[in-house]
């Protein structure tokens, strides 16, 4: 009894330190989420402050709304167009930076340079690219015409594929550096003795990469994939500031659809909420699938070994 009271108990201080996060999350995170769920079953819009419950009507309407389905399609097509090259380049660069045989010089400066695009705000980047690809007097158009590649200036922002590609490229360009840094950290965490023994056994760079590096960074790849997926489905700033959904709604993402419903036109908060709930469920579902897909395999193998 005595010994216990004389000893200072620090345990509860831990709770104080984590309390701010939970308070902020409860007020700004959980409450808004629950409220959004609630609104998605109502008809709240415009200047109204009262609402009625309408059941699942909003969700049924959403799936019959071609523009919503289009925004879904756009979001995923743009995300895939940006994620595949992004993760590929990030892995290649990370592998080169961590390869003990290459011993690249000036690594610090390269890492900073690759990461730089991520620091610029989305607003500046979209203005920059808008001006670059502007029709008919933008620098890219002038360059292409002057070099004789194009007969006359091409209106990139009226071409669906070009517009989507530009949005995807900006996302790729802004985020590959950050992915690369995470992957470098992951690769540096692999025990060097594994590499050394592989090298002693005469394994080639490619073999080392596929047999040692890749399997061991799998958890981090999973992390990258899921954070990028969540970020990708919420893609808003670049396409919104660059094109606002044009041409022909081909760059309108789900987040833009939600924004436009809630904050422009008739202020259809109920549609925006329902769309947010759908987005939320889709992200959860996809994350679960990816998680399962990545985790099942090693689990089963381990069991097999037993």
């Amino acid at each position: 009894m005595k010994s216990r009271s004389s000893k200072l108990n620090y345990d509860r201080y831990g709770y104080f330190f984590i309390a701010p996060f939970f308070i902020v999350f409860l007020v700004f995170g959980l409450y808004s989420m629950v409220y959004t769920f609630n609104l998605s079953f109502t008809d709240l819009k415009g200047w109204n402050r009262d609402y009625n419950y309408v059941g699942f009507k909003n969700f049924v309407d959403l799936f019959h709304n071609p523009l919503f389905m289009k925004s879904f399609y756009n979001t995923f097509i743009i995300w895939i167009m940006n994620f595949v090259p992004q993760i590929t380049l990030a892995i290649i660069l990370a592998a080169m930076f961590t390869n003990p045989r290459l011993k690249l010089r000036g690594q610090g400066i390269f890492k900073v340079l690759f990461y730089l695009p991520n620091i610029i705000t989305a607003a500046s980047v979209s203005v920059l690219f808008y001006v670059l690809f502007n029709h008919p007097t933008g620098p890219i158009n002038q360059l292409l015409v002057n070099f004789g590649i194009l007969e006359e200036p091409y209106n990139f922002f009226r071409d669906k594929l070009a517009s989507r590609s530009i949005v995807a490229f900006i996302q790729f360009w802004m985020w590959y550096g950050s992915n690369m840094l995470i992957l470098i950290a992951a690769m540096l965490g692999i025990s060097p003795s594994l590499y050394e023994s592989a090298m002693v056994d005469g394994a080639s760079n490619t073999k080392i990469f596929f047999k040692i590096t890749l399997p061991l960074i799998k958890p981090i790849l999973l992390y990258n994939l899921i954070t990028s997926l969540i970020g990708g489905t919420q893609m808003f700033d670049i396409p919104f500031l660059l094109l606002g959904g044009a041409p022909d709604y081909s760059t309108e993402t789900i987040a833009m659809f939600i924004y436009k419903q809630a904050f422009t036109g008739a202020n259809n908060y109920y549609i925006a909420s329902a769309a947010s709930v759908v987005l939320f469920l889709v992200v959860i579902l996809l994350s679960a699938i990816i998680f399962k897909f990545f985790h099942m395999e090693p689990e089963r193998k381990r069991k097999g070994v037993k």
Partner: protein, 431 residues
């Protein structure tokens, strides 16, 4: 030592917690009249005119300038929650109607405000109609009218049309079929160097204003015949290569103002001082179009933009708000000096009639633009304007561009437009 340390920590904690709650209490005893606006005009008026004429106001006037593209997103939540709402706020022509019927704007004919009588008598009809709700109640007032016109280059008109006189050039742009013919003439005679407009998006506002039916009648979407005409006109301009293929408010569009490649621009009154003058000289000073402009009515009367003032219904400073609104909209002394200092076109007919002879704009080659605007401001009809115009117009412009550029057939473009309206306004019937 230990005690002092403990004490100082305690005091620090106290100060911090007090400063957190300080925001909730009243900061100072002096009352504040809060004004929200989206350009610096109202700020200038309050600081440079109102405060000078009223040096001993017993309250502060706080003007918050919020950029126009964020203005509605800031205004909507304060109205729907009723917290932090301004006492007086500016509304732009493009979205004023949306707020007029919101139930949050004080009636200007109600007790305490009582402004309607003099406003209706003295102002151009359209600026008053703009601020009437569906119930006919007046809920806003303005100091400026913003009739639109066609600004053109004198030297290019002289060279290719043989006249630079506004009345003469008007004959070349009197309606849209003549306008296209003139565009072809300019294009051919200049070997494709001079286009009649920089962008066909200039035309939208003219056609929108020329509609005879509003977008929504009895909760149903109505596509006016003028919309078809707009689509055909833009397509003709595009196919005959009569524009520089820029987009309104884009860099190329501004750049054309200092060169010789665009004959004219559709701009309202404020386009002269806010758009043409700042862009008439190329950034490197190599070319300039200064003093080579003139203005004429163009194919149809229209208006664009404009700043109206409204009072928040639940404001507890209505008397002070009234004083400010009354000063800005009806004080002849202020209006005259404002017009003289800025060249801004006024909405007060009485004052305009008194001063319209005094103007001579060097930038327009000595033309008296005031007289031209005065002769057309009365023709403007704002009865078809509704709060949804901004959104619906935006949805249509995407389809107009798609049709003009040949991306879509007209039927498809109209179908897609209807779909977009249905998506943004599920309560309207779209057939």
């Amino acid at each position: 030592m230990k005690r002092t340390k403990k004490m100082s920590l305690l005091i620090l904690a106290l100060i911090m917690s007090v400063s957190i709650f300080a925001g909730c209490g009243k900061k100072n005893e002096k009352k504040e009249l809060v004004v929200w606006t989206f350009t610096d005009e109202i700020e200038k008026i309050v600081n440079n005119y109102y405060k000078k004429d009223h040096p001993d106001l017993p309250y502060d006037i706080v003007v918050r300038v919020i950029p126009n593209e964020q203005y509605q997103t800031k205004l909507d939540p304060v109205f729907s929650t009723g917290k932090g709402a301004p006492d007086v706020f500016a509304l732009e022509g493009a979205y004023a109607k949306k707020y007029i019927n919101s139930g949050h704007l004080a009636s200007l004919s109600a007790d305490g405000l009582n402004l309607e009588g003099e406003l209706v008598e003295e102002q151009y009809p359209y600026v008053v109609d703009m601020m009437r709700g569906k119930d006919g109640v007046l809920r806003g007032a303005t100091f400026q009218a913003t009739p639109g016109a066609f600004y053109y280059r004198r030297s290019l008109a002289e060279q290719y049309l043989g006249t630079s006189d506004p009345a003469g050039v008007q004959q070349y742009v009197k309606d849209f079929s003549t306008f296209i013919a003139t565009g072809e003439q300019l294009n051919i005679q200049s070997n494709g160097k001079v286009k009649i407009v920089s962008s066909f998006s200039d035309l939208y506002k003219v056609f929108y204003a020329a509609r005879t039916s509003p977008w929504i009648v009895d909760n149903k979407l109505v596509i006016d015949p003028k919309i078809d005409e707009l689509m055909e006109t833009t397509k003709a301009l595009q196919e005959k290569k009569l524009t520089n293929e820029t987009v309104e408010w884009s860099e190329g569009w501004f750049a054309d103002m200092s060169g010789d490649s665009a004959f004219g621009y559709f701009l309202p009154t404020w386009g002269l001082s806010y758009v043409l003058k700042p862009n008439a000289k190329k950034a490197d000073g190599s070319t300039t179009s200064e003093n080579d402009w003139a203005v004429t009515q163009g194919p149809a009367p229209y208006f664009s933009g404009g700043t109206w003032l409204s009072v928040y219904d639940k404001s507890n400073m209505k008397e002070e708000a009234k004083a400010l609104v009354e000063y800005i909209t009806s004080n002849e002394g202020f209006l005259k000096s404002w017009a003289k200092d800025t060249g801004d076109f006024l909405s007060n007919k009485k004052v305009v009639e008194q001063i319209k002879g005094d103007f001579k704009e060097d930038f327009l080659g000595g033309q008296n633009h005031y007289e031209l605007f005065a002769s057309h401001a009365g023709d403007i009809d704002a009865s078809i304007v509704s709060g949804d115009d901004g959104t619906i117009g935006g949805l249509l412009s995407e389809q107009v561009i798609a049709y003009a550029l040949g991306e879509k057939q007209k039927e498809q473009a109209i179908e897609d437009f209807k779909l977009a309206v249905k998506n943004a306004f599920p309560d309207y019937q779209v057939e």
